[in-house]
């Protein structure tokens, strides 16, 4: 018992170390460092208000996908189908407006909200019913849904979206802030409140931290797993809406490979790939980091061939630092 008390004092006394700092502020630090470097290299073009808003707008899709992906990863799983859900939701919504002549509001309600939730729930039900790893299930649904996009669009872009839709969903609030940024931020705020203030959010952290303990503690594991994938599906279809609004058309190849951006945003945002650890605001910052890299490298004049290289290096470095200095090192 004496030993224990001493240990406790030690824990209380412990100084604020680099590890503690890195635990809390790793994501923000990386973002600040990126902005500093690109700002120093290209102060005239990179560090303008207009460019920073552009970065945020470009990042909005990655952020939305990342926000959904966060919940799959929070459970120690993954959702590879977000890119296909995004494309199919965009295509469907465009078709509903263009060819079925629906009001944009109704089309968005059906093609984005209802459809996104349905696809996410389908993923969740498949995962819980089969007991297979989410990687396999969502790899399958990714392929299935992508194929459906080609079928729905006949592999051609759907254009001629109603002006009212493009004006609102692709427009600017007060003529300044692009609506996609608002979409991403509002979603992030709602989900941040959800994870911090609701019992369901708390349960998801518990389930991700230790699924067996969660079951024994009385958490309804299957229902919560389905909820997590439903959120992922909804966020992906919101990204699909933003995408068609920005392009004023639904492309059959939209979002191909974007699931990697989503995963990168979550992981650079400090979430544990093993589940149970992560925060919504950091996912937003993770998404912004990806936007800054892509935009910054362009501004500096680096060939786009190098963008993936930079992303890959950053991902490995960020997670390595986390491994050696972050919270995971303790357990």
């Amino acid at each position: 018992m004496i030993v224990e008390e001493n240990q406790m004092k030690e824990i209380e006394k412990k100084k604020f170390t680099f590890g503690d700092y890195w635990d809390k502020y790793s994501t923000v630090t990386i973002l600040a460092a990126m902005i500093f470097v690109f700002g120093a290299l290209q102060p005239a073009s990179f560090l303008t208000g207009g460019n920073l808003v552009k970065i945020m707008e470009q990042s909005s899709i990655t952020i939305l996908l990342g926000l959904g992906e966060f919940f799959a990863i929070l459970l120690g799983g993954i959702d590879l189908s977000v890119s296909s859900i995004m494309a199919l939701s965009g295509a469907l919504t465009a078709q509903l407006m263009v060819n079925a002549g629906m009001q944009p509001v109704v089309a968005v309600l059906l093609g984005v909200v209802v459809f996104g939730l349905a696809m996410g729930i389908a993923n969740g039900v498949l995962v819980t019913a089969t007991g297979l790893p989410p990687f396999i299930i969502t790899l399958g649904t990714q392929a299935i849904l992508r194929s459906l996009v080609y079928i729905v669009t006949d592999a051609r872009a759907v254009s001629g979206l109603p002006a009212s839709f493009s004006r609102i969903a692709g427009g600017k609030l007060f003529g300044m802030v692009p609506v996609p940024i608002i979409d991403a931020l509002v979603t992030a705020v709602i989900l941040a409140i959800f994870t911090r203030k609701t019992q369901c959010g708390r349960n998801l952290y518990a389930l991700g931290g230790n699924p067996q303990s969660a079951w024994y503690a009385g958490i309804t594991v299957k229902k919560h797993t389905i909820i997590a994938f439903a959120i992922s599906g909804l966020c992906a279809s919101l990204a699909g809406m933003v995408n068609i609004a920005r392009l004023a058309a639904a492309e059959p190849n939209a979002g191909t490979g974007y699931e990697t951006y989503a995963i990168e945003a979550v992981i650079i945002g400090g979430a544990s790939f093993f589940g149970g650890v992560g925060e919504i605001p950091k996912v937003v910052v993770g998404g912004l980091i990806i936007g800054v890299i892509n935009n910054g490298l362009n501004m500096v004049g680096v060939s786009s061939y190098y963008q993936q290289l930079a992303m890959g290096c950053l991902l490995i470095i960020a997670v390595t630092l986390d491994r050696f200095f972050g919270a995971s090192r303790k357990s």
Partner: protein, 508 residues
């Protein structure tokens, strides 16, 4: 006769415990040497030293004229030591011949290239199967299609194929029918007649008397002696296996005569879907602590999991305060006021990514949320108050409530989990091995807390493999064996001998 192997003065320590204390064990050709002891007596540790998995801290191992400080898995195999574990290690998706010759497939040259000689393997496998009375099976049969008893025979065939001098069988009869046990004994006698030594680990005393030649009895890492089986009665064996000093720290005192109230909880004819608990019926009165004794796998934890909704039931009723409950998952158990402290704290008891505060508050919060625990808001301040109260009430020693529970000692982790259920206000609390891996001081604190709960009218059920713990803590003890209740004792009439006897399936 010259022993095949001699283990001399073997001592093995693990942090905090002496697992083996100066053990002398040898195996002679053509004998069945029985190893008897309770769970945790050190049998497995001794066999792991024999297999080369563990290195002894002291002592030597003599094989022929060679003397070793330790064995390696490779040396052990080379000297012909073969171990058949309780969880058979046969690979289900390979066929019989592949299992037998795994890693040593005979080869032949075909056009200068080494290829597997299937003709030879088939012939030798068929011959081996004949020897273990499994001639009806083809060498190419997939092992996954065999029964447990047949798989065991395949493992014995494998041992013969490697020309094993010593074959260790770890509780080989635990999942066999009587007929299969008889068949196994025929093979064991055959192995003996071929001059092989057999180490037979079992809890079933009648089997020991039938098949054993010599017996070594172990208790708490010490050797109680090595005898000719014929010299001992089963009562002698039980006495040596369990007879230990009973520590008085949490013992009932004579003046403590508890008055029990009405029936709080009742379990009627409960049978699990997987049959690991069969037709279990018992009652629990208010204020009473009810213990469950028996061997690991006897169906005690399995019964509790079924009551708690963590494992599916085939039939049976669960009643709280006379009302029948429908419990299909732990959430419904929690809503009805049933909590369970599981045996594996780390894996099933708490969340390693949660602070003490969150771990304590979660059951209360879930119980007060709607829609299967989904709908509800968390309340940081309320949570903190709940956790503070438990921290004070049961004296959880932690740096702060914000500290991760995974950083606490085992005893304090257990207190956090106990606090979780107390905060949730349960009516029935099930403790599965509540003091496993917990230091003596915290143990007695936990016993006091359990008695306190019972005094407040909470139903308390304890599953434990430590008989002194049950005898010191409980008012009544139920013994289970092979999924069924075999005996029930009032604590005043229960003894370790009686419990041990009932646990082996022999009703006293």
């Amino acid at each position: 006769m010259e022993p095949i192997i001699q283990m001399k003065n073997i001592t093995k320590r693990f942090p905090g415990v002496v697992a083996l204390n100066n053990i002398n064990f040898d195996v002679r050709p053509g004998e069945v040497h029985v190893l008897l002891g309770e769970n945790g007596a050190g049998k497995s540790t001794l066999m792991k030293i024999l297999s080369g998995a563990y290195t002894p801290d002291e002592g030597t191992i003599v094989i022929g004229d060679q003397e070793y400080q330790k064995l390696t898995p490779r040396l052990s195999t080379e000297y012909g030591i073969s171990i058949i574990y309780q969880e058979l290690s046969a690979v289900n998706w390979l066929d019989i011949r592949e299992n037998i010759f795994m890693g040593r497939l005979p080869s032949k040259k075909a056009g200068g290239i080494s290829v597997v000689d299937y003709a030879q393997i088939n012939a030798r496998t068929a011959e081996l199967l004949e020897r273990v009375n499994l001639g009806s099976r083809k060498p190419t049969t997939s092992v996954g299609d065999l029964s447990i008893s047949e798989k065991q025979m395949v493992e014995i065939a494998k041992a013969i194929a490697f020309d094993a001098k010593i074959i260790v069988m770890d509780e080989p009869t635990s999942s066999l029918t009587e007929d299969e046990v008889k068949k196994l004994f025929v093979i064991i006698r055959q192995l003996k007649s071929e001059g092989r030594g057999v180490v037979f680990i079992s809890h079933k005393l009648s089997e020991i008397a039938e098949i054993g030649d010599r017996i070594t009895i172990m208790k708490d890492g010490s050797q109680m002696g090595t005898f000719q089986v014929a010299e001992l009665t089963t009562d002698d064996m039980i006495r040596m296996m369990v007879g230990r000093e009973i520590k008085g720290t949490y013992q009932h005192t004579p003046e403590e005569h508890y008055q029990f109230g009405d029936v709080l909880f009742e379990c009627r004819n409960l049978t699990r879907k997987d049959n690991r608990a069969k037709d279990v019926t018992f009652q629990l009165r208010r204020g009473e602590i009810l213990g469950f004794s028996g061997l690991v796998g006897a169906g005690r934890s399995e019964t509790m999991c079924a009551i708690y909704g963590a494992a599916p039931k085939a039939s049976g009723d669960i009643l709280m305060e006379g009302k029948r409950l429908r419990i299909r998952n732990p959430y419904e158990a929690l809503r009805h006021g049933i909590g369970m402290l599981t045996e594996n704290r780390r894996e099933t008891g708490f969340f390693s990514n949660f602070s003490n505060q969150r771990n304590i508050a979660i059951a209360y919060q879930l119980k007060h949320s709607l829609l299967d625990g989904i709908w509800g808001l968390t309340n940081e301040a309320g949570e903190k108050k709940i956790a503070e109260r438990q921290r004070a009430d049961i004296q959880i020693k932690c740096a702060s409530l914000q500290q991760l529970t995974s950083q606490l000692s085992g005893g304090n982790q257990q207190k956090v989990i106990l606090g979780k259920w107390m905060a949730a206000g349960v009516k029935l609390l099930i403790f599965d091995e509540p003091t496993k891996g917990i230091d003596v001081g915290t143990k007695s604190e936990i016993y006091k807390l359990m008695r306190g709960l019972a005094d407040q009218g909470v139903g308390v059920i304890v599953v434990s493999s430590e008989m002194p713990e049950l005898l010191g803590l409980c008012d009544r003890i139920i013994v289970m064996a092979e999924g069924r209740i075999t005996a029930e004792y009032d604590v005043t009439s229960a003894t370790e001998e009686k419990l041990a006897k009932a646990a082996t399936g022999e009703i006293a």
